[in-house]
């Protein structure tokens, strides 16, 4: 178990290292002169030179990458000529536009993203798993049809179409809700929930199709297994067969998928956040890309990658914990 965990974490670390090299190469070497980008359009040549020295861009590529990694692990100091600017431990540099530390900038956005992700998760689990289970247990009938509709509409549809239509119906025409604008939980919990209701529904519905399909197929598969037949032959009631035994086999894949998805969504539900103006990690990325704020873009990509890769490991661990037939090697 420990050995497996170490192996997986080592693998994850390697992946992230590879990602950091690729990202570093792409973003700091390709697009012209980073010093000019950092300094802005109206900088004089002299100012650009100063910025280059401050950011350590006059060193060789490998040294620069070394500094970059060192910043992430141990923090880093930038000298401005007169003073020293310290960047704390997971240092991803300073934003070109706001001069804020990228790490801090991203951390500030985490609550909004988490608010969206966790609320949407509740919805996709309730709707997705609910529909999937019902349609597996009662084949045919209305749940079956609901599943077909959900699957058809949800398979590969862009999430923003659903969001736009919801916004249009609920806010513009029915006027049940004002157009949402994000309110932090710490500020006003009630407004927080009301303003996040539509984003939750949008993302939740969108993801639920996948869960409905997965739950349905894994439940059906478990029900077809030998041990279930044995239970039935012993005269165990249908309720106990389903509740105690079939679910045990059907749930692990759902848990694993959920952990994976949560990682992806935390890494950036870019479309939902942008559509509803939620100041989360995904929206930060889009905003940074528009103004070519390279350190922020790099920071978000690395943070997102970390979230996804770690979620992958967690998903496998949860799967093994929930399904004791799976042995971790």
């Amino acid at each position: 178990m420990t050995r497996y965990l170490l192996k997986r974490l080592g693998g994850a670390l390697l992946v992230l290292l590879a990602l950091s090299v690729a990202v570093y190469a792409l973003f700091y070497l390709v697009p012209g002169d980073p010093a000019r980008l950092a300094c802005g359009e109206r900088c004089s040549t002299q100012q650009v030179t100063q910025v280059r020295e401050r950011l350590g861009l006059d060193a060789s590529v490998f040294t620069q990458y070394g500094h970059f990694l060192q910043g992430i692990v141990a923090g880093r100091d930038y000298s401005t000529g007169t003073a020293v600017l310290h960047c704390d431990a997971p240092c991803l540099g300073f934003s070109y536009k706001t001069d804020q530390q990228v790490t801090r900038l991203i951390l500030e956005r985490v609550p909004a993203t988490l608010s969206l992700a966790l609320g949407a998760m509740v919805i996709w689990l309730v709707i997705g798993v609910g529909t999937g289970l019902l349609s597996a247990l009662r084949r045919g009938g209305i749940t079956e049809r609901a599943l077909t509709v959900l699957t058809l509409a949800g398979t590969g549809m862009p999430v923003f179409i659903l969001g736009l239509l919801l916004l249009m119906a609920v806010c513009a025409y029915l006027r049940w809700l004002p157009f949402p604008s994000y309110v932090p939980l710490s500020q006003d919990p009630e407004q927080w929930a009301w303003n996040l209701l539509l984003p939750w529904l949008t993302l939740g519905f969108f993801e639920s199709a996948k869960y409905a399909r997965l739950t349905r197929s894994s439940t059906l598969e478990t029900l077809a297994e030998d041990h279930i037949r044995t239970f039935r032959a012993y005269g165990v009631g249908e309720r106990a067969v389903v509740g105690r035994h079939a679910l045990r086999g059907a749930v692990p894949p759902v848990i694993a998928l959920n952990a994976n998805d949560l990682g992806t969504v935390v890494g950036g539900a870019v479309l939902t956040e942008t559509l509803f103006g939620i100041p989360g990690i995904g929206k930060t990325l889009v905003d940074a890309v528009r103004v070519v704020d390279v350190p922020v873009v790099v920071g978000v990509v690395l943070v997102t990658g970390t979230a996804v890769v770690l979620a992958n490991v967690v998903a496998d661990l949860l799967y093994a914990a929930a399904d004791r037939r799976v042995a971790l090697l």
Binding site: L152, P158, L164, G267, Y319, L329
Partner: protein
């Protein structure tokens, strides 16, 4: 799992017959043919309507009301069949058609790149020695795991503004999302490699490249086409998403996703402007999905329909990344 579906002439005819047996597939196919024809004929249709994509018509929008098109349904008239764009008065019919062009071009191009890279990497991994296989499989795992949309958005930031955007989108989507194809091709190659006809070719003195080209590629056609049919609609969605976020196709080139992002301010004043591109995108993706599912079952009748009866992927042995499970995963 399809191992050796022959893709010869008789096979193609058989597949066609099975496709014809499914009304949903024929409807979806019809919709797509119509869409392709409309997209290709965009300049012609624009000429017939007598409009172009980028002329502003200030007289057709009500500047006092913030630029809402004059007339019902977003200013539908004999001159402007689907009305005009709010604010600018550009002809919506022509813009939607050119939007279809962009959407299809990017999706088809990106799918081609994905399939090409996927087949090459998958074949190399399947036929190469253990070291090469391990290396390529790890790279593939990484590509599959990474959040594709986030990387695509990020990549659009580093490319100079004068680089042609549709080509950029094709490359970005294509280069980031080939992992699934590579996995399938690798798994198939490993299975095919064991079969007698491949062994016979090897004994007959054919080299690896020749075996790959002459013996393996034809047998790989079915699974690759199947997977490509799933990739196409997802590429359409990715293009629309990137354009929606403002990092895809740049104005004045029209794109559905871009229209939808500007449409947000016109919900109440001009609902047609929201519903037209949204509806087109919805129908296109739906048609591709339905057709893709039908092609899948037609190429391998043993596979159950993905849409009708859920997946057979069943329990996913998520621990360990061996070929069989990853194939199942990507297929679901």
């Amino acid at each position: 799992m399809s191992t050796a579906v022959t893709a010869g002439a008789s096979g193609a005819r058989q597949v066609w017959r099975r496709l014809r047996g499914r009304p949903s597939a024929m409807v979806a196919g019809g919709v797509l043919v119509l869409l392709v024809v409309l997209a290709l004929a965009a300049p012609l249709l624009a000429a017939i309507e007598g409009q172009d994509a980028n002329s502003y018509h200030d007289a057709l929008v009500d500047s006092a009301r913030g630029g809402v098109p004059i007339g019902s349904f977003g200013g539908v008239s004999g001159d402007h069949w689907l009305g005009v764009e709010p604010g600018t008065g550009r002809d919506l019919f022509v813009r939607l058609l050119y939007g279809a062009q962009v959407s299809l071009l990017v999706a088809v191009g990106a799918t081609a790149v994905q399939v090409l890279i996927g087949v090459v990497i998958g074949l190399a991994a399947g036929l190469g020695n253990r070291l090469l296989d391990t290396f390529l499989s790890r790279v593939t795992d990484v590509m599959v795991a990474l959040p594709m949309l986030v990387l695509a958005i990020a990549l659009t930031a580093v490319v100079p503004a004068d680089f042609p955007r549709p080509l950029l989108l094709i490359l970005v989507i294509g280069l980031l999302n080939w992992g699934g194809t590579a996995r399938i091709v690798r798994a198939q190659t490993l299975t095919l490699k064991q079969l007698d006809f491949v062994a016979a070719a090897r004994l007959g003195g054919s080299g690896r490249v020749r075996v790959a080209r002459r013996e393996l590629l034809p047998s790989l056609a079915a699974p690759v086409i199947t997977y490509g049919a799933i990739l196409l609609p997802s590429n359409i969605v990715i293009e629309a998403s990137l354009s929606f976020l403002g990092v895809g196709v740049t104005p004045p080139t029209p794109s559905w996703g871009q229209m939808l992002s500007t449409a947000q301010t016109w919900f109440r004043a001009d609902p047609t402007y929201v519903l037209l591109p949204a509806g087109l995108l919805f129908v296109t993706v739906l048609a591709f999905t339905v057709l893709g599912d039908a092609v899948r079952t037609a190429l391998d009748p043993r596979e159950a329909s993905r849409l009708r009866v859920g997946t057979r992927a069943g329990r996913r042995a998520r621990t360990g990344g061996d070929a069989a499970t990853s194939l199942k995963e990507t297929a679901s």
